[in-house]
Symmetry: C2
Subunit: 360 residues, 2 copies
């Protein structure tokens, strides 16, 4: 067996060449054919690093050199390869945002604020949809961490221990949002959903409502609001209430069907607390279709204070959450971290406020 090899060696030796022959020059290399930094450098008559500096920190490059480089850049149509830059500098310029779903979501404002803030800082947002079930979240985390983003914004708090570990191990700044916990992975900006439930209970009770019902999504945070609401109502001496649960994400349809279901099983309801404005809108719509006067015959309360809440008829009483502020603060957290600044208190409760309008 090994003789074959020997033979080969021998034959090489016969030609009096050292055993390991020098490789022939490789065939044409791969590569994109795109203009590169050194193409520009060559054209401008400087070194590559100077071009790099001209683009990143123009202030350290002499004005004429800068002009020559800029000219070369625009003549070649050079666009820096940010993957290469990211690899070399260990700064990807990417920030990941994970959310349950993008569709019709209350988180959109947060994402918008995030995009805006990072855009100004030259970072792009990578979007990941984890779904409401959490099954995909772990796979997503891996895909995201693989990009070595400069930060990760999570919607909700991370529940999978596996995901937590991965995130922690990655050393990437993480901001959890839209919820509160004393033990965030890293940083957090949100508010207490249970407290929302309790305060809504107080608010409705103080307005005289005694026969509440709930139409709620089956997601974790909605559940927190619901139990806060139920507990407080119970503490106030209100009898157990009918509850209608729908699958997240919620739709107008779910709200309509929710009220229909509630009415079918229990007529004795004077207010419906919904886990989202969309749901509340559905309830109001169903009431309208059934000629039930809102709020005289039935009051409705939403959650989120989405853009339409104050413009539907009747204007929706709801809980205002400043989604943009959450996004802004999350971006701030991450940028402070990137720049190595002290972020201060790592848990920020941005609170909420009840907005009394006409529907309750």
């Amino acid at each position: 067996m090994s003789e074959i090899k020997e033979l080969a060696v021998t034959s090489a030796a016969v030609t009096s060449k050292p055993v390991r022959v020098k490789k022939p020059p490789r065939a044409a290399r791969r590569g994109t054919g795109d203009t590169t930094l050194s193409d520009v450098a060559k054209l401008a008559g400087v070194s590559a690093i100077t071009v790099s500096r001209a683009l990143k920190t123009p202030s350290v490059v002499a004005p004429e050199t800068l002009a020559r480089i800029q000219d070369a850049v625009s003549r070649t149509g050079y666009v820096p390869n940010l993957m290469a830059g990211g690899l070399a500098s260990n700064r990807s310029g990417l920030v990941a945002a994970l959310m349950p779903t993008i569709a019709g979501s209350v988180f959109l404002e947060t994402v918008q604020a995030l995009t805006d803030a990072f855009d100004d800082a030259g970072c792009q947002l990578i979007l990941g949809q984890s779904g409401y079930t959490g099954f995909r979240e772990d796979a997503l985390i891996n895909a995201i961490v693989g990009r070595r983003p400069d930060g990760i914004v999570l919607t909700g708090i991370m529940h999978s221990p596996e995901g937590r570990k991965r995130l922690l191990a990655s050393g990437i700044p993480v901001v959890e949002t839209w919820d509160l916990t004393p033990t965030p992975i890293d940083m957090l900006v949100g508010f207490s959903h249970e407290k929302v439930g309790r305060e809504v209970a107080d608010f409705l009770y103080s307005k005289g409502y005694r026969r509440p019902a709930i139409v709620s999504a089956d997601d974790y945070r909605a559940g927190l609001r619901r139990s806060g609401f139920e507990q407080r109502m119970h503490a106030l001496g209100v009898a157990p209430m009918p509850v209608h649960i729908v699958a997240a994400p919620t739709s107008l349809r779910d709200g309509r069907e929710g009220l229909a279901a509630l009415l079918a099983q229990a007529v004795d309801v004077d207010v419906v607390f919904c886990s989202s404005d969309v749901l509340a809108h559905g309830v109001v719509t169903e009431a309208l279709a059934r000629a039930i006067d809102v709020p005289r015959d039935l009051a409705v309360m939403g959650f989120g204070d989405l853009a339409f809440a104050s413009y539907i008829h009747p204007a929706l009483t709801t809980v205002h959450i400043d989604g943009r502020a959450i996004g802004r603060q999350a971006a701030q957290f991450i940028m402070d971290r990137i720049e190595g600044r002290d972020v201060g208190e790592r848990v920020r409760d941005i609170g909420f406020s009840i907005v009394p309008r006409l529907s309750a």
Copy 2:
């Protein structure tokens, strides 16, 4: 180790060259400290490339080797650096989606479909918001192209010649969506907005409406629908109609104010064609608040067929666009391109359909 260096120094001295001595070994290198492919390789007792293959194409690696590697991966918590991989393979695994705005948009379904489709293919979506003005679009294009995405999905057709050129020069597969043009940059999936306008005109005319009005956003595509509508109505002998224009993106509020403005200037209207369902919803809401019966006293027509359209009261007559299909086809286009398959006809008109419900 150091002997080599010494030797080098000596030899330089011997040849009495004052020229530069070989550099001393560099100080500790940079780097993340993360586990790398070769760490895993070392642990598994194979070469780096074998680990790479085990992760990308497990079928070409022997089962026991694979097992050893997988064990090493899970023991180290290794997560591949996709930037490095992307740089080496010239495949970033990133796809960019540019849209005017994410908030409350009709494009969300498309983005969702895009995310889903690319997720399955192991690609992540980068989100870019260009705004409705187009000012930011060029800057965004540069930032995006710099990431060397495997594909770019544009919402609407590209209008800036500068942006067009950049995109074309980049050689990245581009899909323009939600509009139609015989001269796309590369590929396109959409429909004709003017045709929507014309067919809506025919539809409403055939239902007997003769005194139309328009509430429309000021964006390009809405303008197309509007002019198609006006021209056809004119051709049908209808007198010029009152038009109320609002700034994109549209809100429920804009719709309410739109109807109020229309009513203030011209009472003689029997149907309002709105450039979005949200606007139409606002018009319906304002009518409700004013006790104007829809559709008896005033008919309303929307555009988009968003999820809520069939569930508001009265159910909204509108134009259905299959946003998910647009997203799916766009993803298909790009993946076919990446895989080097023939994409066939590069312009796909996915059409639209008028959905008659109760509001008109």
